[in-house]
């Protein structure tokens, strides 16, 4: 099949093109009136399913099946969990919310029917990050959207789901909303690269979704911010232990290409697995095997309301990549799958699994199932150093550049950032570093400080072990030569 397209021996791709053509046309008009390939009874709905040959019911159960398989085989959700669904209003997060709800309903039914009521029903919360401060959406539009979200979530009951609406600028935890908005604007304005700005916003979003309480924060700045950060604790403060994102195959395919283009080949496998437990609240991607077109179709068939914002398209590298992937997908409907499958063959990290449950509250069967499906530790890379800004794992060569940074200024903790952040997010002029540092949100700095300490001790350990920290190629010099954006001291 095309999804498994083998390559032409001569590397010329001609054969591949020849092979792919018939498949491309199959999903087109030729099969419009056909019968569902699965139940062989009902009429197929065009566009439903990867090859557009399912009927409505089979399409639905197939899509739910992919979701369910991802959830169970990666132990994403267990009965004792409390999961938070990040809801953006788009089709992907709408479908994931729907599926999580259906799963919860079934669990509730089983619970009600069972005699001993030993298996609890997992809890579900929903969060919406309000980014109107950045996207400058008219406030009436936002109010309307939030009203819609409230009704979507309240209609998904029982069981009831708590809804948390959090403004993105809240991540700064300042005294007033106006201050926070002002700070967000200052921070984003200090990033000149359009792609860097988008990516920074993405990092802030993840930070907002995660818990921001930490030991240092508690001790040092707590009294100033107490009233604020209580509002901010989206995930863990509310007792959530899973964060569910609606990232689908198509979005992941784009991420694979953007990360490659930004030189993040090393950390890429961390972002595209079913589970990413490097965060305090592990992130899970149950729609990893579903295409955007399928999710759109699902919302259409099921009449699920989705929200459209006039955010404008991505610009810069991210925008370029998504139109490139779109073009490729049009040329071959299995291209996005292939891209994700290729990247899926890269070695993941040790945190790309749900941490082992040793809690005696967790039923034995659950623990056993988790063991069966989880990665074996030797298949993954053990990495303990992270970029303080984007929190991606650092390669040895990234880490080696750290040794050139003297720790004499506060902002030097950012010195251990990955080369991508240094290029596209850091100010070009080294003298602006101090200002840039001063406008970063506290939770990010706290994490950065932790990262920095961890990285330095890891570096010391490497140096003591005498392991080779020199870049294995001269690519870093090449990249550095091209970048000239580093604070040189």
């Amino acid at each position: 099949m095309a999804c498994d397209s083998s390559t032409c021996q001569s590397n010329c791709y001609k054969r591949q093109l020849v092979e792919e053509e018939p498949i491309a046309s199959k999903s087109g008009d030729s099969n419009k009136q056909s019968v569902c390939v699965k139940c062989k009874a009902k009429e197929a709905v065009s566009g439903a399913g990867e090859d557009g040959r399912f009927c409505r019911e089979c399409f639905r159960s197939n899509l739910y099946g992919k979701f369910k398989l991802a959830v169970t085989s990666n132990a994403m959700i267990t009965p004792s969990d409390n999961v938070l669904v990040a809801f953006s209003g788009g089709p992907s997060s709408r479908v994931v919310l729907q599926f999580i709800h259906e799963m919860q309903q079934r669990a509730q039914k089983n619970f009600d029917a069972s005699k001993d009521r030993s298996l609890p029903v997992f809890g579900v919360g929903v969060t919406y990050i309000d980014e109107s401060a950045y996207h400058s959406v008219p406030s009436c539009e936002i109010d309307e959207a939030i009203e819609d979200i409230r009704s979507i979530v309240s209609n998904l009951a029982p069981p009831a789901k708590e809804l948390h609406i959090v403004p993105i600028e809240g991540v700064f935890a300042l005294d007033s909303l106006d201050c926070e908005r002002e700070r967000l604007k200052t921070l984003l304005d200090s990033v000149s690269d359009a792609t860097g700005k988008e990516d920074l916003l993405l990092h802030l979003r993840m930070l907002t979704l995660q818990k921001r309480r930490s030991a240092a924060f508690d001790g040092v700045v707590q009294d100033v911010f107490t009233h604020k950060y209580l509002r901010l604790q989206v995930a863990s403060e509310n007792g959530y232990n899973r964060l569910v994102l609606g990232l689908c195959t198509s979005r992941i395919a784009c991420h694979v290409i953007t990360a490659t283009v930004k030189g993040q080949g090393y950390s890429l496998p961390a972002d595209i697995q079913y589970v990413d437990a490097r965060w305090e609240v592990p992130v899970v991607l149950p729609l990893r095997d579903c295409l955007a077109s399928e999710l759109n179709m699902f919302c259409h068939l099921d009449g699920l309301k989705t929200l459209e914002f006039s955010n404008g398209p991505c610009s810069g590298i991210n925008g370029l990549v998504s139109s490139f992937v779109k073009l490729l997908q049009e040329e071959n409907p299995s291209r996005e799958c292939t891209i994700v499958r290729t990247a899926g063959k890269l070695t993941p990290f040790h945190f790309n699994r749900i941490p082992e449950l040793n809690d005696s509250n967790v039923p034995l069967a659950t623990r056993r199932r988790q063991k069966r499906f989880n990665l074996k530790p030797n298949e993954s890379i053990s990495s303990e150093s992270f970029c303080p800004l984007c929190f991606s794992p650092l390669s040895k060569s990234d880490l080696s550049s750290l040794s050139s940074f003297e720790s004499c200024q506060d902002y030097d903790i950012l010195g251990a950032a990955c080369s991508s952040c240094r290029f596209q997010i850091f100010p070009k002029d080294p003298s602006s570093m101090e200002h840039f540092y001063s406008v970063l949100p506290q939770p990010l700095l706290i994490r950065a400080k932790k990262c920095s300490n961890g990285n330095r001790s890891l570096l010391r350990q490497f140096q003591k072990d005498g392991s080779n920290l020199q870049p294995t190629s001269n690519i870093d010099n090449q990249v550095l030569a091209a970048a000239n954006c580093l604070p040189k001291e």
């Binding site: 397209s5 083998s6 390559t7 032409c8 021996q9 001569s10 590397n11 010329c12 791709y13 001609k14 054969r15 591949q16 093109l17 020849v18 690269d193 359009a194 792609t195 694979v256 290409i257 490659t260 283009v261 930004k262 030189g263 993040q264 080949g265 090393y266 890429l268 496998p269 810069g316 590298i317 370029l320 490139f324 490729l328 040329e331 291209r335 292939t338 891209i339 499958r341 290729t342 990247a343 063959k345 890269l346 070695t347 890379i381 390669s395 080369s419 991508s420 070009k428 294995t472 190629s473 001269n474 690519i475 870093d476 010099n477 090449q478 990249v479 030569a481 091209a482 970048a483 000239n484």
Partner: protein, 374 residues
């Protein structure tokens, strides 16, 4: 938007070269967007390549090196730069030009003329190996026999071997090819798009085929195509200058070095994408290569065992090498032999996949069959 802002160094006056700070800047260096003067451009261009050669120990003193010469811009500039660096830094190399004549009427003639001019200009001995001599068939004859549908299988397999066979006739230790940074970045992307993890893990190596008959290296691995295009404007490559700049602006150069038999809409997307990326962020090309180098690919992706072809002695994981299978088909009047799912001569062996992989091992890393800058 993302372009580095270059500040005028003098109020109102002309910009000075940001490397030497003396001459007037004459161009914006494509790789870094620095404003530099002509002299500094040649200096950094050549010395970067020298540094790559030294850092990666591409050559040893006394080695015989064949430069895969297609007559295209990459290999012509490579011949020019390598002979210059060999002289300047006393590499102690014996350099040769090696060309392949596929026997495609009216298409190779120009590029072979260029190669012959290079021979005179740089004083490098030239060897031209032809398909007719090596295989008894010209490409024209093959196309006549099998039609246009599968001929690119022949292009690729035959050219790969032709270069190796020519290299062994010249008794060289290594073949240097003109693959540039754009080519390698493109190959990384294409291997992701095709799901070819085995090639993805190899395609950024600067030296390939060390287990094969003759290793290949890519001194231009970090060299931008745009800079290769500007380079011939120096006096050093005077003969080819006009032809190149002319060809470039006429947009003939790139397209004319494609196999006339090869349609390639697919590859076009990736090439176009890289050009778009470079426009908004020149460093993206190096970043893609960096990603390719840093991809974590577990070593359990094993290569098939390598043996030698029972017929011609060329490296092969099968009884017969791909070229011999294809040739046998041609000679027996069964040209479909060895194309696609390899039924027939190697039928007893496992899968076509192995053939692909073994050939890929010392392949020119997916440089398109039709591109003559091998």
């Amino acid at each position: 938007m993302e372009e580095a802002v270059t500040k005028p160094t003098k109020k109102g006056g002309a910009r000075l070269c940001c490397i030497c700070n003396q001459s007037r800047a004459a161009l914006k260096r494509p790789k870094t967007l620095e404003q530099i003067c002509k002299e500094c451009f040649y200096e950094v261009f050549e010395e970067e390549i020298h540094q790559v050669i030294v850092d990666n120990q591409l050559f040893k003193p006394g080695e015989r090196i064949a430069i895969g010469a297609s007559g295209g811009k990459d290999s012509t500039v490579l011949a020019c730069v390598l002979s210059e660096l060999n002289r300047r830094h006393n590499y102690g190399l014996d350099l040769f030009l090696l060309s392949v004549d596929e026997g495609i009427t009216g298409y190779r003639d120009d590029s072979l003329e260029t190669v012959k001019r290079n021979e005179v200009q740089y004083g490098l001995p030239l060897k031209i190996v032809s398909y007719k001599d090596l295989y008894g068939w010209t490409m024209d004859e093959i196309v006549k026999m099998i039609g246009l549908k599968n001929n690119c299988t022949f292009c690729g397999v035959f050219r790969r071997q032709a270069l190796d066979r020519g290299a062994s006739l010249l008794k060289v230790d290594k073949v240097a090819t003109g693959h540039n940074a754009d080519d390698i970045a493109e190959t990384v992307l294409l291997n992701i798009l095709r799901g070819d993890i085995a090639r993805l893990s190899r395609c950024t190596s600067i030296v390939t085929g060390e287990d094969g008959p003759i290793p290949r290296c890519k001194p231009f691995k970090y060299t931008y195509e745009k800079e290769i295009v500007i380079y011939p404007c120096s006096l050093k490559c005077s003969v080819v200058i006009e032809k190149f700049t002319y060809a470039y602006f006429k947009r003939l150069d790139y397209f004319s070095t494609e196999c006339i038999y090869s349609p390639n809409a697919y590859r076009g997307f990736a090439r176009e994408f890289i050009k778009d990326l470079e426009r908004i962020r020149p460093r993206a090309i190096l970043d893609i290569i960096k990603s390719g180098e840093n991809f974590r690919i577990s070593t359990s992706t094993k290569m098939p065992e390598q043996g030698t072809c029972q017929r011609c002695g060329y490296i092969s994981s099968q009884k017969w090498c791909k070229a011999c299978v294809l040739l046998e088909g041609l000679n027996r009047g069964l040209p479909k032999l060895g194309i696609g799912r390899s039924r027939g001569l190697n039928n007893d062996n496992k899968k076509e996949k192995d053939v692909t992989q073994s050939n890929g091992a010392k392949s020119i890393e997916s440089k398109q069959c039709g591109t003559l800058d091998f």
